[in-house]
Point group: C2
Chain length 485, copies 2
């Protein structure tokens, strides 16, 4: 007893001793009716004040873990656990197709992961060194002072009202007509997309999207039982001719597009193509899910309105927003801006899934915006990422032989290698030398893309960046030589 | 222009003026090529420093909303939104069965809701006046100081490691053998239950549970396509005889039970019944989902181990925990403690749904526990709720004629009225007098319970409590007189 007891600094001793004794009893280390040392003995043994130990014993007795017999001492209670026949379930045999597919399509399990100390181009998370923690703290304390109790109790499934109002205005500054529309706050893009697919009953469970596209979107679409047809990408966005043919030859229930800093290619769809895309979808009556991914991360050029803005007063575009690739992904906030009646139905689905998104997260983010921190942060982040973007482009051009390089903004570039060079081979070679990136095939809807790779540069230092890309470049050259290119 | 501009205190002026102008432009209030007032003119007009306005114009120009012609002035840019044929989707016609059922079963939409100023017995949320905000702030600042950047960037789908470790120990103090088990952090009980049902592929999509039971569990089970059979409740928990018959006569894939302070009846299952229940489930090889609902809110009596503890080293019990009815429901944290391999599959499902639960929420909660605040808070909350519980029992006995009253802990009581008295009639009568509660029929798996009601007392003052129950009592008596009882 107490041989394995370790005191943690900064935690009340009563709590630590009590927890230790509770576990000692419930884990069966202490026999029922076994006598405990007196508080005096324990006080000497542990060098802890007797008052503390008296408090612990009193509470444990109140909670029924121990009992006292006057002038005899304190003893372990029977904590009420009788043995019953325990049995084993083979859970692997009882996983649903959804759980199996989620596991099979789980990149975190399937792909080579960057280990500590490696140069990691696989991540496209923001660089946490840019986070302005002081402003986040300020936002938290400001909001807690205004309505702390309210933040900590149940909120609304639709979301925290001040944040919804803020985002409504934010969508309007993007040119989106919010009349007759509404907003649902979600736990990031992932939940938004998942809730929409599970809430719709479209004519055909068939989605038209860009090829390649966001791996999570492919995964969720498959888990929800949708077929996917991907349309090739040109330098200024989706191939309109190919899209038109696909729409004529197949029936689709939905389209999913990422017009800005598209993941994984980093391509921005031109204004002309935005108009064309919407004309085609209107002609074939196909609603669009627009992923507003990274559209804040424009490093040059003028404001580009999302497709939802081009849609005018129509209600056929469902816009999904998130700040996760820019600001605080640990705070899980995304949103759906769509037709008011549709949002009303999605609110019930959201409530049935997890009641609502963390009010604390929503409130901190709202106050951070309200305090005017976002604009300043974005300016700083953009200048930092712009530099990294330019450096990555320069290094890729210099060191990695390739057929195509795309990405005019955002946090990543996309490369297509010479024919016959497989990025998974390169990844294995580089991994041994401490460099990791994402093999591009996981982004393809049709099993293609074996010669492609995505290079995320947001969390890599300049020095690592140059070295890492040299390593990739050398591995590509070696393979090319072997192939006799 | 600027006629509807209102300055909000405590927000940077640059941000406010910029947002106003952006919306003015994107909403089409400013024509393309329309000349804007000079910064000097605007400065006089708005009584804002010219420097601020110069900064705003510079940023708007950088972002492509406006353009400057030297010695001519500043003009509105074409923000790239061409009109495309907009069209309307009738979303109501395209809702999936899940979305329709979620709406139909949405109590927040279906039931009479308590309005501000009413006496609200419908809520079983904790009383936010008990929240110790100072400790929550402390926990936030402590954790942010330790690893703020990490909290705000992406975390792990399984959850925040320190919290998982803490909860593992917490489960052990409840007597649960955590060897071979693991924990997944979820967005509350609701997500935990939903993830499990969608991840399992049991032999029969048929759940055995208590009748009545948690409305959310009924809702999610139905949405996931499960049949439900509810077993009647006795004063010490589920009716074992009825359970045995049901198990013999039907095939079940899962059981779902809430042994402590059961929602809605408030009944605690006795230790003897816990053993019996597990024996029966083992005999029929039916895995159990245990809802650890409110088991912390014991006002008297000794420690009662959860069913997961009685299960010993077996892996057939999946335990769902949550502090939401005790502590900070706005922080959406729940957990699943179950077989390690099962948790591993659930982690992929969780990742496909929303990447992970808010790290900020998890970290604040962890630090709050670590700082030893929970034990103190629980003591205070229990003493307050114990008092309210006693007062509610006393008032119900005194004022509301009933056949049965249950609830020995937790935040609510459950009443069964005399035959022929319908609680929905009573609810309507009371609503007019500013009193609202939950009609019990929503908790029944078989459409029964029309004579039952749940009275949540956690957020009602003593004075309101006495008056509110008198109002209910009078309404019941009036109906009884009409019925000639």
């Amino acid at each position: 007893m107490f041989t394995d007891f370790k005191i943690t600094e900064g935690r009340p001793l009563t709590v630590q001793v009590k927890e230790y004794l509770k576990q000692w009893i419930t884990k069966g280390k202490g026999r029922v009716d076994q006598k405990l040392p007196s508080t005096r003995e324990l006080s000497t043994m542990l060098n802890i004040s007797r008052n503390t130990l008296v408090a612990v014993y009193t509470e444990l007795e109140e909670e029924g873990y121990i009992y006292t017999v006057r002038s005899k001492g304190t003893f372990v209670s029977k904590v009420g656990i009788a043995s019953v026949p325990s049995w084993h379930v083979d859970w692997q045999q009882h996983l649903s197709p959804v759980a199996q597919a989620a596991t099979d399509l789980d990149l975190m399990k399937r792909d080579l992961r960057g280990e500590k100390g490696m140069i990691n181009f696989a991540s496209i998370a923001p660089d946490e060194k840019l986070f302005d923690l002081a402003n986040v703290k300020r936002a938290f304390l400001d909001r807690m002072a205004i309505e702390g109790e309210i933040l900590l109790n149940y909120g609304y499934a639709k979301g925290y009202k001040p944040l919804i109002e803020y985002l409504t205005g934010y969508m309007e500054t993007k040119g989106v007509d919010m009349d007759g529309k509404d907003i649902l706050i979600t736990n990031g893009f992932t939940e938004a997309y998942d809730i929409i697919l599970s809430s719709l009953n479209v004519n055909e469970k068939h989605i038209l999207c860009e090829n390649p596209t966001h791996h999570t979107a492919i995964k969720i679409s498959r888990l929800q039982g949708y077929d996917i047809t991907g349309i090739g990408m040109e330098q200024d966005g989706i191939d309109i001719g190919e899209m038109e043919r696909a729409l004529t030859e197949n029936s689709f229930g939905l389209a999913f597009l990422t017009p800005s800093y598209h993941n994984p290619t980093g391509i921005v769809m031109s204004a002309e193509k935005r108009v064309e895309v919407l004309r085609l979808l209107a002609k074939h009556h196909i609603p669009l899910i627009e992923d507003g991914f990274n559209e804040e991360l424009r490093y040059s050029g003028s404001h580009m309105a999302p497709l939802a803005a081009f849609g005018g007063d129509g209600n056929s575009v469902i816009y999904l927003g998130s700040f996760s690739k820019i600001l605080f992904p640990g705070i899980r906030i995304g949103w759906i801006a769509a037709d008011r009646e549709l949002i009303d139905a999605l609110v019930s689905v959201k409530r049935a899934r997890n009641i609502h998104t963390s009010t604390l997260d929503q409130a901190v983010l709202y106050q951070y915006f309200h305090n005017g921190n976002f604009e300043k942060y974005l300016k700083r982040a953009k200048s930092e990422y712009k530099h990294k973007h330019e450096l990555t482009v320069e290094c890729c051009r210099k060191y990695i032989p390739h057929k195509r390089l795309t990405g005019t903004g955002g946090l990543h570039l996309f490369l297509e290698l010479q024919d016959g060079i497989r990025s998974r081979d390169i990844l294995r070679d580089c991994y041994e030398q401490g460099v990791v990136f994402t093999a591009g095939d996981v982004f393809y809807t049709d099993g293609q893309g074996e010669g492609t790779l995505r290079i995320g540069f947001s969390r890599v230092s300049d020095e690592e960046l140059v070295h890492g890309i040299q390593v990739i470049g050398k591995a590509v050259q070696r393979r090319m030589e072997e192939n006799g290119c």
